[in-house]
Symmetry: C2
Subunit: 354 residues, 2 copies
């Protein structure tokens, strides 16, 4: 057992229907008196409903995906002009991302109210886009001081998006078991996340307004972000990154399809991760738990359904190989990647070997 693990300072307030009360209390705790509320137009009503009791200095709606630098600059100027002393973000990853971009240069504390399972609120990772180029980095300043989770705010997240986003969180959990900075603390968070997703997602599908199912999915999204941000990106995410970038495959679906093949490939080489994942699913083999869940969720099955061409497999394998972390629990060859991609392309049963 050998690791260095940084526990990040953050308060997590979790309670359905309590966002307004939690926000009021936390803003008082921070002794803030000039709140900048950041919420895209689509979330405006939601945000108004939960910020009624706050001393709001300014509303800011200019939220754009991937946080273009101009949008970040606009937000920073607005914060300065309004003499804001705290940022309250209400929304998904782009909204949290804008709050982080403003915090990065102003040092303002963030209170994040997530409305999706993106998980950005639990990490020190920021991202900015200049033209077509996205830069990401790590800065403790951008970590929200407080997260307010209220599952009632996620009830309107459409089921397909919930499932896709939930499976993405699941991939974070599974991949963090063998990531470059994998450690037992991350693994404990990840296992708790898997358990909570396996419980919550089927309930969200069966009954989109099931609050407990939503709570479990939201809680799991938090855990997956903590585990993944600490453990780092591993084989699964490297594969999906190449597939998404070079072949324009849809992000969430690619993750959902590829995950069982990576689990089948790595699981046998890392008994401790295999044991932990299986225990979290409550099955004797990890892959059985994952496949049971995927079946229940009617999850995406094959890359060929999303336009990935069989002929691209060799090229994709070559592109992935240099990105494979040296810490992967078993060595990875181009041949391995071709087999894995072919199985994922056709949707073959991962239990039959990859």
């Amino acid at each position: 057992m050998r690791f260095v693990h940084d526990n990040l300072p953050q308060r997590v307030c979790f309670g359905s229907g309590e966002a307004a009360a939690s926000l009021q209390r936390e803003i008082e705790n921070l002794k803030a008196s000039r709140v900048m509320v950041i919420a895209a137009e689509a979330e405006k009503d939601l945000a108004e409903g939960i910020t009624k009791n706050l001393p709001i200095a300014i509303w800011h709606e200019d939220v754009v995906m991937h946080v273009p630098v101009e949008v970040a600059e606009h937000g920073r100027q607005a914060a300065a002009a309004a003499q804001a002393d705290v940022l309250v973000s209400v929304g998904g990853g782009s909204t949290t991302g804008l709050a982080k971009a403003i915090a990065m240069t102003t040092g303002l504390p963030i209170v994040a109210v997530p409305t999706t399972y993106a998980g950005s609120e639990a990490t020190t990772v920021w991202g900015l886009t200049r033209g077509a180029r996205k830069t990401t980095g790590i800065d403790p300043t951008v970590l929200p001081k407080v997260i307010v989770y209220d599952a009632t705010l996620t009830l309107t997240l459409p089921v397909p998006m919930s499932v896709a986003s939930g499976l993405n969180a699941l991939a974070h959990c599974v991949d963090s078991m063998w990531a470059p900075n994998a450690d037992p603390i991350n693994a404990a968070f990840a296992a708790e996340g898997i358990r909570s997703l396996a419980d919550g997602l089927p309930r969200v599908v069966a009954e989109p307004f099931d609050l407990e199912g939503r709570e479990h999915a939201l809680y799991a999204a938090y855990l997956s972000a903590v585990a993944f941000a600490s453990a780092g990106s591993a084989l699964h995410h490297k594969i999906c990154h190449v597939l998404g970038g070079a072949y324009n495959l849809p992000h969430a679906q690619t993750h959902a399809v590829v995950l069982p093949y990576v689990l089948a490939f790595n699981g046998a080489a890392t008994p401790e991760a295999e044991r932990r994942i299986a225990a979290a699913f409550g099955t004797s083999r990890a892959i059985d738990g994952l496949q049971d869940l995927r079946r229940e969720l009617d999850a995406p099955r094959a890359l060929l359904d999303y336009g990935f061409a069989e002929e691209s497999i060799p090229e994709a394998a070559d592109a992935i190989l240099p990105a494979v972390p040296p810490s992967n629990p078993r060595p990875v060859t181009t041949g391995d990647l071709r087999r894995l991609l072919r199985a994922a392309w056709s949707g073959a049963d991962p239990r039959e070997g990859v």
Copy 2:
């Protein structure tokens, strides 16, 4: 699901035989150049071995159990006189406690190197004793910035003390499942702690110099402290506190004896905790896992073996009752406490009902 959870900012460095290297790196990271090493005489050799490469300004050996205020004051003056800019504590709970007392007034950062399973290094709790009166409190300033865990430093911890201390950590984990601030994050830490203790302690008993066993016990001590400090004290600890204070029963043995009865009493009323504890032990019932472990460790069995008199049961029950947290998963009556204490007094099988 409803909770507020504070994640504390702390770096955890875990590695057997790596304390010297970790200390050097972390002191450099903190840009410190005048180290005050706090180590009792008994740990002096250990401390010298791992601090060779540090810029030491002063050695401080005046460590006394429960941190008398005079001892704290002496330490603070020594730190000021030496112009120390960081405190490195090497030792058990009393040593960490002294470092905290110094940090409380000076604001100096602490790098803690624990040599026991006390767990104080992972909490914001401080304690000071004036005469016979101990005061404790919470202060974020006293939380060590860095913990350096090196299981080789615990190899000389005698087996009986390791078992007693390990069972105390186990009690922290179990009790935090239903404590006043119990939440799923604490429960995940606690479950990981139980798993790690159930794995590590029998190995320490079978082979005191088994490094892996020691690592698991030390790691679990960390987890139990994090979970317990966050969740707060619950039924088990309230009972043991009264028994220890009013009847002078030995701390660790009392914990070891009482735990199964509290688990049997509370477990049935809290299926989620029962499920989590059982899963951590890898048994179908939580109490079976605990009793199997206790048998393997030849753990203390009955309060009568430690001088607790049967006649004291009614009085003890009355003294415990007002301390029972209202959040306990089932209501507790004097009659319940009498039955529980009688069973613990005689060492009856807790599975036969308490």
